[in-house]
Each structure stands twice: as structure tokens, then as C-alpha cells.
């Protein structure tokens, strides 16, 4: 009897414990708060072009595939597989059984609608450059899509850019003004509430094809000022902050509940010469001399607090197309001076150059330009820095009016040499102040070269020519700094992409 009694008590207590545990599991809904510098400008994924907005909308909308962790790697999302069926046609097999959060089934018609919507001039989408290479989309059946390009393309055209698939039926019925505030996608989360400049919150999408993410609620809470972002993290008001200035590192590393997360960025910073405008920068020897005069390791160490990686080619090691055998310029004042003599500017006499730089666009952009000016002075080249705020800088950049030198950063999320070379070194690209028919020809060839080994060889050729011609001072790739709470498990990515569905908490 007593034994039975004991057993009963143990059973009841056990059941109570189990119930309490079950209850607490439900009560401990997990929430992660993420603080970037700005709020999403819209929740229509086809109307934006900025990374912080893509970081927000990708919790609702999905692409055919996400970029993987290495260049050329993809993680299948709405497409399960893809292959080239002829030189200009790429076939995507879509995931079956996927529905949008409103219940509409996801089919090939949605993919076609998405591309067509961006292409339609009436919609005035800023994303037209993303679909430039796609001539048209065909839908042989509900789960097959053909992306047809005008010329053969080495990179799958459907995966190259942030092409987020929208619900054709819903989009057409509601119109884009409504959709911009009421997103409906196939992704892991659904919108709970968007309060502009205050917060955007998401709840888990119980119908997501990918299962249940470890985080139930995601909140994006923008905080524009870096010091205030750090303070918010230290008080526990947020779990993840972006763009931590190097001077705040120590507060986060030593913090009770905070830690620093960092990764090598795909963003490189460089100085370009405007070779299209008259001036001494049109002389290759001057450009080479300046390349030898700039001491990149010193800049990385002293100006960005060691948070950078010196690189020797515009195609860095974490990009497809990198080749270690391509030489770079190492800091060498003697060589710089010898080249200046050869160029007809002994001791830099007769040289007075302007180095243009943006203010507040990249981490320590202006300070880096000041440091470079100092280094050029040491080689005898009189250099003045002309720093401007971003809009007018960017406008002049697009008109190729920044001369003779300007500082610029570039991040290619696809981590493929094609994006860098096409946009920054070819004759017709607005951001290129360099023109070389040989580079144009090789770039075109590489874009259409379907054989990986041959394509790599073409980029080696390009990088070798660019080294010799020196249209840039190649400098370094940044290390991106994030602050997170100690309970958060998350691996930062080089493309600045933040995915809450890959996070977990302890």
C-alpha cells in the first residue's frame, strides 16, 4: 500500500513536471531582434535595391536558390535543380507542394510573372539591371521554368541576383502599393507588423516547406547611430547589430552579455584612376609608381584597426576567378621613385593630384584617403583629398567626372569575377573609367564561356593585364564586424546577408 502510494506520488509529480516542462517550452517562444542602421524602404521585394531591405524581405520571400558559403555554391530554395539544356536556355525544376502564406500554390507562372513585372517599363522597377541578361521566361509546365538569354551565360541567370518570387495572383489582384505593405511569400516567416522606422516583426510560417526554424519570432529594429546600436545591444534590447565601428570592439568583447562576430567581407576598397580624362594618370608608369607608393598593410593596421585583408588583384581570393599566380604590387618606395623618374616626374616634380573620396559610405573611407595622400606625399607626389557626401559623389562617379583618382568600394554577392570586371573595367560601364578593347573582348568571352577551367583561364588573363596596366590601386577587403548577444548562435556571411532562419539561441 505504502509502496503503491509512493509510486502514485512519483507518477503524479512526474506528470506535473512533464506538464510544466511542456508548458515552459511553449511559453519560451524564441525571439531574435536584429538592428541594422536603416529600416526597410519597402516590403515589395521587386522595388528595392539595398542590402538592409533584402535582409528583411528574405524572411518572407524566397529566391530560386540562395548563395552558398563558397563562390559558385547555391542552396536550392524554390528550385530544386537546374541545368543548361542548350547554350542559351537554363532549365529550373521547381519545388512541388509549396504554397504562399495565403494558400495560393507556387508554380512556374509566379516565376515568369516576377521577371516580367521587373522588365515591364510601366512598373519603373529599379531592378531592371538584375534581369538584363534574361531575354524571356517560358513555362513548359507548372513545375518547370526556362530562362532564355540572348547569348550563352556562364552564371545561371535565374540565380545571379536577388530575384525574389512573388505570388502572381495576389500581386495582380492587390497592386504593388498594397503589396509593399502586405507581403505574401513562400518563406519561413509571415509579417506580423511593420511600423516604419520603429520595427518590423515576423512570426514563423507554420506552412513553410522547410520545416520549423529554431527562431519563432524575428524583429528588425533599426538604430541609425552606431553608438546607440552598441548601447542597445549592451542593454539586451537587441540581439544582433551590424556595422560595429572598430573603436567599439572592446566594449563588446569585454561585455557581460555581448560578443563580437566577424567575417571576411566580399567588399573590397580600391583607388581607381580616371584614365579617360587627360592628366598624368593616363601614363601607365605614374599609375604603377602610385601602386608602389601606397602601403596597404599600414592602412589596414592603422586606419581600420587591423580589420581588413590585403589583396593583390581586383579578383580577390574569395571570388570565383581568383588566381594566386597573378602578381600584385608590394609597397616599395624605391621602385615608386624610380618609376616616377622614368615617367618624367623626378621626385614627383610637376605632379599635383586630387584623391576623391566619399564621406561615411564605407568604414573609415575618408580617413583611408587621408592616409594614402600622406603616403603619396612621402613619395614626392603632392596629393590633396577631396571628400564629398555620397549622393553628389555617386552622381559624379556615374558621369566619370571624378578625376584623376577616386576611392570606391565594391561588394559582389555572387562572389564571381564577372560582376567586378564587367561593371568596373569595361568600356561601356558607367562606373568604369578605363577602356581597353582587349579587356572588353576577354570579359565578353568569359561571360559566355561554359567551361569552368577555360573561364578561369580567361580571368587569369584579365587579372594579368590589369596588373600590368594598373588602372587601380588594389587595396584590401574589409572584415565585417557584428555585435551579438552571447545567447545567439549565428555565423556572419561575407555578402552582408542576415538570415534569422539559420540562427538559434541557447
Amino acid at each position: 500500500m505504502r509502496e503503491q502510494m509512493k509510486r502514485a506520488i512519483v507518477l503524479v509529480a512526474g506528470a506535473a513536471l512533464a506538464l510544466a516542462a511542456a508548458g515552459s517550452v511553449r511559453a519560451a517562444d524564441t525571439t531574435v531582434t536584429i538592428s541594422q542602421g536603416v529600416d526597410a524602404d519597402t516590403l515589395n521585394p521587386l522595388a528595392t535595391t539595398i542590402t538592409p531591405t533584402f535582409n528583411v524581405v528574405q524572411h518572407v520571400y524566397e529566391r530560386l536558390a540562395d548563395f552558398g558559403t563558397r563562390p559558385g555554391d547555391y542552396e536550392p530554395k524554390l528550385a530544386v535543380s537546374w541545368k543548361r539544356i542548350n547554350p542559351t536556355t537554363e532549365e529550373y525544376k521547381l519545388r512541388r507542394g509549396v504554397t504562399f502564406s495565403n494558400g495560393d500554390p507556387f508554380t512556374s507562372a509566379d516565376v515568369k510573372f516576377t521577371v516580367d513585372w521587373i522588365k515591364n517599363p510601366a512598373n519603373n522597377s529599379k531592378q531592371t539591371p538584375y534581369v538584363r541578361d534574361i531575354d524571356r521566361v517560358e513555362t513548359p509546365d507548372p513545375y518547370t521554368v526556362h530562362f532564355i538569354s540572348k547569348t550563352p551565360l556562364a552564371i545561371p541567370p535565374g540565380l545571379q541576383n536577388p530575384l525574389f518570387i512573388v505570388d502572381a495572383k495576389y500581386f495582380q489582384a492587390r497592386g504593388n502599393a498594397y503589396v509593399a505593405e502586405h507581403p505574401v511569400g513562400t518563406g519561413p516567416y509571415v509579417l506580423h507588423e511593420w511600423k516604419r522606422d520603429d520595427q518590423t516583426s515576423f512570426d514563423v510560417n507554420p506552412k513553410w516547406w522547410g520545416g520549423h526554424p529554431k527562431i519563432d519570432h524575428v524583429v528588425f529594429k533599426p538604430i541609425p547611430e552606431a553608438g546607440a546600436r552598441v548601447a542597445a545591444l549592451r542593454t539586451g534590447a537587441t540581439d544582433l547589430i551590424t556595422n560595429v565601428p572598430p573603436q567599439y570592439q572592446i566594449q563588446l568583447v569585454g561585455g557581460q552579455n555581448t560578443k563580437l562576430a566577424s567575417t571576411r567581407s566580399l567588399r573590397q576598397l580600391f583607388i581607381a584612376f580616371n584614365t579617360l580624362q587627360p592628366g598624368p594618370q593616363q601614363n601607365k608608369l605614374v599609375r604603377q609608381a602610385i601602386n608602389y607608393a601606397v602601403d596597404v598593410p599600414a592602412i589596414v593596421k592603422n586606419v581600420v584597426g587591423g580589420r581588413g585583408y590585403e589583396i593583390s588583384s581586383p579578383i580577390p581570393p574569395n571570388y570565383f576567378g581568383y588566381d594566386a599566380s597573378v602578381p600584385g604590387y608590394k609597397h616599395d618606395l624605391a621602385k615608386a621613385k624610380a618609376l616616377l623618374v622614368k615617367a618624367g616626374y623626378p621626385d614627383g616634380k610637376g605632379l599635383a593630384l586630387t584623391l576623391n573620396a566619399p564621406i561615411g559610405r564605407y568604414n573609415r573611407d575618408r580617413e583611408i584617403a587621408e592616409a594614402i595622400a600622406g603616403q603619396l606625399q612621402a613619395a614626392g607626389i603632392a596629393t590633396t583629398v577631396r571628400a564629398q557626401e555620397w549622393v553628389s559623389y555617386s552622381d559624379q562617379l556615374n558621369r566619370r567626372a571624378l578625376t584623376p583618382m577616386y576611392e570606391l568600394g565594391w561588394n559582389q554577392p555572387s562572389a564571381d569575377a564577372d560582376g567586378v570586371i564587367t561593371a568596373l573595367f569595361t568600356t561601356t560601364a558607367p562606373l568604369s573609367c578605363y577602356s581597353n578593347p582587349e579587356i572588353d573582348k576577354l570579359t565578353d568571352a568569359a561571360r559566355g564561356e561554359l567551361d569552368v577551367v577555360k573561364r578561369k583561364a580567361l580571368y587569369r588573363q584579365i587579372a594579368t593585364i590589369l596588373h600590368e596596366e594598373a588602372p587601380w590601386v588594389v587595396m584590401f577587403e574589409y572584415e565585417d564586424l557584428y555585435g551579438t548577444s552571447k545567447r545567439l548562435h549565428w555565423q556572419p556571411r561575407g555578402d552582408e546577408n542576415i538570415r534569422a532562419y539559420e540562427m538559434s539561441l541557447t
Binding site: 536603416v38 524602404d41 520603429d198 520595427q199 546607440a228 549592451r234 549622393v391 556615374n398
Partner: protein, 305 residues
């Protein structure tokens, strides 16, 4: 009175037109936002297509004509960044700004004026010195720095209030104090100066000679006559606070008009800048009128016709 109001309304309209014109010209002369709005890998043709769709390729005078016509119909156009009506983006953020500015204004009026009066009544005593030193700090320390210091002390170190964002009253404490500090200092100094001047006046000496107590003289006769410049300045301060506290809202991640304004200016989002500026100008015009009407209440000698 009706004629007076009509005249003032007409004047206000001209002021708004003038402001809109000046802002339009300044904005369009300082840069074309196409290169910031479009992705960096855009081709020349893609950039030109955007420019054409926005009308940036037309002569400035034609662009202004189109802007003037639609603005007269109450339509400032779509934000280049958000693709939504610019004026509704600005109005949407007005409640947050009113909440912050209203609280800051209460601090200004309820601390600035009494502190100034006290300081004037007890010149060269410790009360006066403390008030004047605090006022000096308030006027000379940058808002940005004060905000960050308050965050570090009260949010990070002591944990009494949240560091940033909008929410309940606790979220309001730091930004309102930061925002109010500068204006409080200004009002305190003005009140002190204004009171000191009045306290020297003959009729106050007469009042005291008649045997009235110091407090009654100071408040009943002194402050009453010192009011006009103070009320004028309070009106201006309220207008400044309401038109969006750019720095305070940025430091405290407050979702108000000021933050929208600063983003829009940095990106040359023309329609949004116009909307914010017109909103601010309207607030100023209305407040100025209110202050002028208040004069008549405070000083029976003033009448409008």
C-alpha cells in the same frame, strides 16, 4: 479680426510657396539621385531610363512647372526610395514627433521659465549660479554628445530606461530630456534677462513702495510684463521641436519626421524633402499666428484689425 486673419492666411500661402521653390532649386542643383537609387551595376541606358521616367532629363524650369502644378493639387509625388506618396510618409511620422516634441516642450516651459524667474529674483546667489551654469552647458554641449552620455549612464550603466526606440513613457524620458535641454537653457536665459529688465522698472518700485510683497510684485506685475518676449520664443521653440528633431531622433532611433527628413536629404529623395519642409513651414506659420493672437490676450493694449 476676420480681415486680419485673411491677410495672415494670404501671407502664409506666399511663405509656403517661397519655401517650396527655394527647396526645389537647392535640391535639384546639388545632385541627381539616379545613381543612388539604381543598382551600381546599371548600364548607361538603364540609368537614363530611370532619369527619363522621373523627368530628371527635362529642363529644370519644366520640372518645376510640373512640380508646381501637382503640388497645387496637393500631390507632391511618390518618394523615389519608398515608391509611396511623399506627404503620407511625412504625416505618418508626425504623431511620434508630436509625442517627443510635446514632452520636451513641457520640460522647457515648466523648468525653463521658473528657473529663469528664480534666477532673476535671486541674482548672484547660488541658485542663480547653478541655473546659469546648467544653461551654459545646455547651450554649448552638442545634443548628439548629451544623448549618447545619457544613454550610457541611464540605459547601459543603471538600466533604468531603454537605450532607444519608441514605446511607453520610459522610452520617452531620455530623448525628451536631451531634446528639451537646449531649449530649456535658452528659455531660462531669456526669462532671466527679461525679468531683470522689468524688475528695474519704475512701476515695480512703486508697487513695492505701496507695500506689496516681493512674490506678488515679481509674479503679478513682473512676469506679467516680461511675458511677451518669452511667449514669442516659446512659440519658436515649439515650432523647432515639432518640425522634427533630426539629431535627437537619429541618436534615439525615434521614428519621427526628423529621421525621415535626414534620410531623404542624404538620398535627394526630392518629394519627401519637399513634404517634410512644407509640413515644418506650415507648423511654423500656424504657431506664429497663434503667438500673435496670444499677445492680445496677454496684453490688452494689443488689438488686431
Amino acid at each position: 479680426m476676420v480681415a486680419y486673419l485673411a491677410r495672415r492666411a494670404l501671407g502664409a500661402l506666399w511663405a509656403l510657396i517661397g519655401v517650396a521653390t527655394v527647396v526645389f532649386i537647392i535640391l535639384h542643383l546639388t545632385g541627381d539621385p539616379t545613381s543612388v537609387m539604381m543598382p551600381p551595376e546599371s548600364t548607361r541606358a538603364e540609368l537614363d531610363a530611370f532619369r527619363h521616367a522621373q523627368g530628371f532629363d527635362r529642363p529644370l524650369i519644366v520640372q518645376f512647372g510640373w512640380f508646381a502644378v501637382s503640388a497645387a493639387h496637393g500631390d507632391l509625388g511618390l518618394s523615389l526610395r519608398h515608391q509611396e506618396p511623399a506627404m503620407s510618409l511625412a504625416l505618418e511620422r508626425l504623431p511620434a514627433t508630436i509625442e517627443l516634441a510635446g514632452t520636451a516642450f513641457l520640460i522647457v516651459a515648466l523648468i525653463g521659465v521658473p528657473a529663469g524667474v528664480l534666477s532673476a529674483l535671486r541674482p548672484r546667489t547660488w541658485i542663480d549660479y547653478v541655473a546659469r551654469i546648467v544653461a551654459l552647458i545646455g547651450q554649448s554641449a552638442p545634443t548628439y554628445w548629451i544623448g549618447l552620455m545619457l544613454i550610457l549612464l541611464f540605459a547601459v550603466r543603471l538600466g533604468w530606461v531603454p537605450a532607444s526606440g519608441i514605446g511607453d513613457w520610459r522610452n520617452l524620458v531620455l530623448p525628451a530630456a536631451t531634446l528639451g535641454f537646449f531649449s530649456t537653457a535658452k528659455i531660462m536665459r531669456l526669462t532671466r534677462a527679461s525679468m531683470l529688465e522689468i524688475l528695474e522698472a519704475d512701476y515695480l518700485r512703486t508697487a513695492r513702495a505701496k507695500g506689496l510683497t516681493g512674490t506678488r510684485v515679481a509674479l503679478g506685475h513682473g512676469l506679467r510684463n516680461a511675458w511677451l518676449p518669452i511667449v514669442t520664443q516659446l512659440g519658436v521653440e515649439l515650432g523647432t521641436l515639432l518640425s522634427g528633431a533630426i539629431i535627437t531622433e537619429t541618436v534615439f532611433a525615434w521614428p519621427g519626421v526628423g529621421r525621415l527628413a535626414v534620410q531623404a536629404v542624404f538620398e535627394r529623395d526630392f518629394p519627401v524633402v519637399e513634404a517634410v519642409v512644407l509640413l515644418a513651414a506650415t507648423i511654423f506659420v500656424v504657431l506664429n499666428l497663434a503667438v500673435d493672437l496670444l499677445y492680445a490676450v496677454l496684453d490688452p493694449r494689443i488689438r488686431y484689425a
